[in-house]
């Protein structure tokens, strides 16, 4: 059959269009209903949810005069990047930022090592009292942090560790927390035992199985633990508030809050664009991690949220 002429093609197209579903009222009604009950509310809600975030970033870039303008303006007319250095030099940003990073890294290393080690023992090795001890792990999940806060404070005071980062890091090196042991154990249980057996036959000891077999196969779970640790430690406020007193030892969050409060106490208000610039800086690390590891992030939330 030869190719249709232009006229024939036009006719065919017209016919198809005439028979097309878009001519039927049902199609339009459905589309209209979908737009009305799904896309319209979603768009409206998404605007409401993102508006504060946009306000945060846009205010941080406004010159002082534009901050309180009416009607409120979400898009700054000029970008005042100078707000950022101006705000960050008003308190020990570098020192306290490094302190926070030290805590995050210290806790992360201790937790990944000791929690995964314990989880491996609970998931794989048989020893008397294992099940009772694991129930004990689960029981400690229910204990609110605040009931052990005061005695822990007294312990660290007697050790002379007040105003050091140790009280915030060292406990994580002792098992890393019941929740994470549980999370990792659940994940380790899904790894087929054949891998362990193969390594054992090749002469691998129990601890080497953990290091060379289990850990490399658990990267998603270890990633979830890392993300939670980053978020948790970045947000931690009460413990650093209690343990750290001098500016050179404080965490970023505490230093920021003291800077803000000093403004309130001394009668002059810090400019809101500066406060928003600092808030944006504080928001940046979790946000960057989220966008680079989005899939793992949501996967991690889901793994732990359902199983934890």
């Amino acid at each position: 059959m030869s190719a249709p002429t232009f006229e024939e093609a036009k006719l065919q197209l017209g016919e198809r269009l005439l028979r097309g579903r878009w001519l039927q009222g049902k199609y339009w009604r459905r589309l209209g209903i979908r737009l009305l009950i799904i896309y319209l509310p979603i768009t409206a809600l998404a605007l409401v949810y993102t508006a504060p975030l946009i306000w945060l970033v846009s205010s941080s870039l406004k010159p002082e005069g534009q901050v309180f303008e009416y009607p409120p303006n979400f898009i700054p007319r000029s970008l005042e990047w100078i707000n950022y250095p101006d705000a960050l030099v008003q308190f020990p940003f570098i020192v306290t930022g490094l302190n926070t990073v030290t805590i995050v890294v210290g806790v992360l290393m201790g937790r990944l090592l000791t929690a995964s080690l314990a989880a491996y023992g609970f998931a794989r090795l048989r020893f008397p009292g294992r099940n009772v001890l694991f129930v004990l792990v689960l029981t400690t999940l229910m204990i609110p942090y605040h009931v052990i806060l005061i005695p822990q404070y007294l312990i660290f005071r007697d050790l002379g560790w007040l105003n050091t980062l140790k009280p915030l890091i060292v406990p994580a090196w002792f098992g890393g927390g019941a929740f994470f042991i549980f999370l990792l154990r659940q994940f380790f249980m899904t790894i087929p035992r054949e891998y362990d057996d193969a390594a054992r036959i090749d002469g691998c000891g129990f601890i080497r199985v953990w290091w060379y077999i289990i850990l490399p196969m658990s990267l998603p779970a270890l990633g979830a633990v890392s993300i939670f640790t980053l978020m948790g430690e970045w947000n931690d406020f009460l413990a650093p508030l209690i343990y750290l007193n001098t500016p050179d030892k404080q965490t970023l969050a505490i230093a920021v809050e003291q800077w803000r409060r000093s403004g309130i106490i001394h009668g002059y208000k810090h400019q809101w664009n500066h406060i928003m610039a600092v808030s944006t800086v504080v928001t940046l690390p979790p946000l960057v991690v989220f966008f680079f590891a989005q899939r793992h992030f949501i996967q991690g939330v889901v793994i732990s949220g359902i199983k934890g």
Binding site: P52, T140, V147, I207, M276, S279, L287, I306
Partner: protein
């Protein structure tokens, strides 16, 4: 709990291999056991002892029997903090669950660009508390805030939000709702996990959309809803950072959350004994709520593996 596999009849110490395994097993959980004894069990016992003592950190603790608990009964601020926390939990937790679930339901309607919408709703949930607190303190500032500014545009004089006793708790609830995207991710995963065969069967039986939701979707997702509810409840009884940063418990103690009051007693007035007693009341409250929730859950929550 896991079931031990293949325990042989021979006691473990008779076989070299099993001896090694038991040794390795205790080695893996050693850090956790030490941590449990030093940082959990010991502190809990000591905190129990402190709750029956008077202790100002300088003089050694002195046993005073039930005096701390008696004092609590007459402490107006204790009851105030309990009331504030209960009202907040009763409002914020169901609201956050409902909003998060509705968002998930909406996104589960085969919408285009799912990951875009999911990101838009989820990102607020990962903004650090510090930034959220400053941002909301400003947005909901009665005079210079964005919300009342926008309301003024349409001729409405907005409420005083954080600055008034009636509005401060609802405003904290709104702040909590901004993070509802965290729960949404979990509900969405649960919704997507509902087998489509169940919907097909329901359709064959003539169930309309509403009945499919009520008899299939909702029962299949109750475990996640229940879990989020419980976690939310426990978290709101331990809420500290947001109120500490935004209102410090004001105005007139209208947002004096429980842990805020505990912190004040422990580290502002150095009534460590009284603070420990407060912590133990918190333990009991959380325990009661947890047990109650599990009782209710037995009737309401549907677990797939269970026979009806």
């Amino acid at each position: 709990m896991s079931v031990d596999v293949a325990w042989s009849n021979r006691p473990w110490w008779r076989s070299k291999l099993r001896r090694q395994e038991v040794l390795a097993g205790y080695f893996t959980i050693l850090p956790w056991i030490l941590g449990f004894l030093i940082f959990v069990a010991g502190p809990i016992l000591f905190s129990f002892y402190l709750s029956f003592s008077e202790y100002d950190i300088l003089k050694p603790p002195k046993l005073i029997g039930l005096d701390n608990y008696h004092e609590m009964f007459e402490d107006r601020l204790f009851w105030q903090s309990l009331r504030v926390t209960t009202i907040y939990a009763a409002g914020a937790v169901p609201l956050a669950v409902v909003v998060g679930y509705l968002l998930a339901l909406m996104l589960n309607q085969k919408v285009g660009g799912l990951s875009f919408w999911r990101t838009a709703f989820y990102v607020p949930a990962i903004v650090p508390v510090l930034a959220v607190s400053y941002l909301f303190a400003w947005i909901f500032n009665p005079d210079i805030g964005l919300v009342n500014g926008l309301l003024r545009q349409v001729g409405v004089e907005g409420p005083p939000w954080f600055a008034s006793r009636q509005w401060v708790l609802p405003t904290f609830m709104i702040m909590e709702l901004w993070a509802a995207g965290g729960g949404m991710v979990l509900y969405l995963a649960a919704l997507q996990g509902v087998p489509s065969s169940l919907y097909d069967a329901a359709k064959v039986d003539g169930a309309n959309a509403w009945r499919r939701f009520w008899h299939v979707t909702l029962p299949m997702t109750t475990p996640v809803i229940f879990f989020q509810f419980l976690i939310g409840l426990i978290a709101s009884f331990q809420l500290f950072t947001g109120p500490f940063l935004v209102t410090q418990g004001g105005p007139a103690n209208a947002s004096l959350f429980y842990v805020l009051y505990l912190y004040r007693n422990g580290w502002k007035y150095f009534n460590m004994g009284y603070a420990s007693a407060l912590a133990w009341v918190l333990v009991v409250i959380i325990l009661v709520f947890t047990l109650l929730s599990f009782r209710v859950a037995r009737r309401v929550v549907y677990y797939e593996s269970e026979e009806p």
